[in-house]
Symmetry: C2
Amino acid sequence: MNGKFILTCSGCGKTFAPSPELYLCPDCSRNNDTVNPPKGVLKAVYDYEILSKHKEEVITGNFWDLIPLLKKESLPKLRIGETPLYRFDRIDGETLTFELYLKDDSQNPTFSFKDRASAVVSAYARENGISTIVAASTGNAGSSLAGICASQEQKAIIIVPKSAPHAKLTQIVMYGATIVPVNGTYDMAFDLSMEATKEFGWYNRNTAFNPLTIEGKKTVSFELFKQLSRAIPDYIFVPVGDGVIISGVYKGYEDLLKVGLIDRMPTVVAVQAAGSSNLIENIGKPDFTIKPSNTLADSISVDIPRNFFMAQYYLLQYKGEWLSVTDDDIVNASKILARNTGIFAEPAASTAFAGMLCYQKNQKLLSKQRVVVLLTGSGLKDLKAVSSVINIPNAIDPTVDSLRKNEWIKF
Amino acid sequence: MNGKFILTCSGCGKTFAPSPELYLCPDCSRNNDTVNPPKGVLKAVYDYEILSKHKEEVITGNFWDLIPLLKKESLPKLRIGETPLYRFDRIDGETLTFELYLKDDSQNPTFSFKDRASAVVSAYARENGISTIVAASTGNAGSSLAGICASQEQKAIIIVPKSAPHAKLTQIVMYGATIVPVNGTYDMAFDLSMEATKEFGWYNRNTAFNPLTIEGKKTVSFELFKQLSRAIPDYIFVPVGDGVIISGVYKGYEDLLKVGLIDRMPTVVAVQAAGSSNLIENIGKPDFTIKPSNTLADSISVDIPRNFFMAQYYLLQYKGEWLSVTDDDIVNASKILARNTGIFAEPAASTAFAGMLCYQKNQKLLSKQRVVVLLTGSGLKDLKAVSSVINIPNAIDPTVDSLRKNEWIKF
């Protein structure tokens, strides 16, 4: 334990000294199976009472007091996070009455939000003398871990469903990680990585299993706090698959609340793909039921939302909202986003934007409200997803006459 | 003319008041043809004498005095440039004696260096009431202009050779630009865009034709100046195609020299792909000869290096160096770069890195020298280029036993 934080079970509330061997609460996870979301996910807790006496120092120290690491030098030298927040006033020529803010996390070293989590996990491994890290991934978390480990001279082993997008597989191999495609789904890759962790003593970065991924992901909320000059957004639209990113967003604001830097929580809106909406469909239900996933938004396509219980807790506790959007909505949102802002986002990110558009259409976003959309990764990571709306015209002869003759060239 | 700068012909030295209709020196460009590099490329010149009396203000003003724009608000709201500079001490376990710095320009809104040029051109168009901009492009400049125009509510028309990489074409379409693929090379697309500019009165962003692209690109040198605490690099490795990026790097440092902020120029090393090395092959030759291009580094694959004369001037004037590297070198450099740093770069960027590796191998980089490599774009933009070195193993069954049996999974 490095003295800055302890781990507490999000189920029973028991506390534990952190250690790289500790992932889930031993008691609550005893009856975990491979068909339900795991119980016993742990949460890092800081000494909020002491920190609340030094609020301003927490900010000037760039929230280092709320990061579960001993030394800044443990972190990768790559620029992680510090991503831009843009305000846009118009969509397709129409002036917005609310304030639309886009948080562009494609501007990370491996071009996705996941670098925030990989960085903290990698640094923690370093502080504990661990040089090999394993992760199961649909692609983004894996390519992120592979890249971050490359920059830290650590070894990454990435277990992926063989259907993961080619771009992400290419990234993983280029970064020099060992890639292990499996015949099966992401969920099977996830289970295998956990077994292998036990069996071979690897350090595991899986989301909702390693509690530090949330500690990395929460940094986005600290950045929003600063970029919005401490104002609390009215809505934050977050793409949701396994429920870890949304828990990270909540955790960041919850930390700020506990330190006394904010006095209320934002309304977080969980947006899932209609083809993979097991998290929101099960909120408040006594028994967890699963529909097999089928969506083009691969990085939020999960059968078992691994961080279901924590995400559900946050959404209910802080009056979050949720909705799902179709794959058509997602692809259209991707185009609307790109042509209005110059941000080409991956399908998962466009899912959050589609959720915002849906709220806009239903007039749920009121005048002057601050509305943040979390854009989690680059569209270059999954070109296939938008291929249905990409129409590249036939080539013409390179003459001015041809330009004139082809009426689709709108002057 | 906005009063901050004038344009001067890089050939005859005549000066002109800037205007969106003025591209090349009318006199020197009179005999330009389509088989030789154009003459009469213009260069922006500032009142260096006055600025040299306020050197420190130039820095605190973040070099705005050296940007050919009237208002910062004309620029896109996207974060352009401000890209990270990383120092790495080791490659494949070997400690470097020189100081290796990597400038990661994949961290731009459309994931390439070209955004620096597009931003200034787009802003200048805005200040002059122009809403449509055309460019010929092998892909990066076009996807950049499309994205930047989207964020500025401007219209982009992008003329591309039909062989341009799919990722870049997809980006262009997603950003809502009009894409015009032509049956022919980049050089034919270039010529067509210039004819169309004359014919239809469009504003043209072509590199080495619109003098403001260099003004955008030079900002990388201002950033290096600050990031290296005003120290001048001993070497800057730059990927070279048409000679505009390298001219931008030189122009930035030349501006600093003229203002008196530095007292000597860095040694810039032009690195071309061996399959497209018409720029360096022609330096100092009385007649320009062209070999048709054939390299996987598509964004520096050009037959006619459009900014040949200016690049040649700079390289000779400031004792630059040059070399070419094979496609095999480029792909290998890409892998070495990614696995050691977590930066997955496009082939053009890896070309510069390959040049640095070549210098390292030949022991040209001395102890403590500051060596910068300019990484111009994301590897996600051209996955096909590295496909020859990507070996994704066959999928295994998702069991610990399979993990054990497959010896390629290095523990």
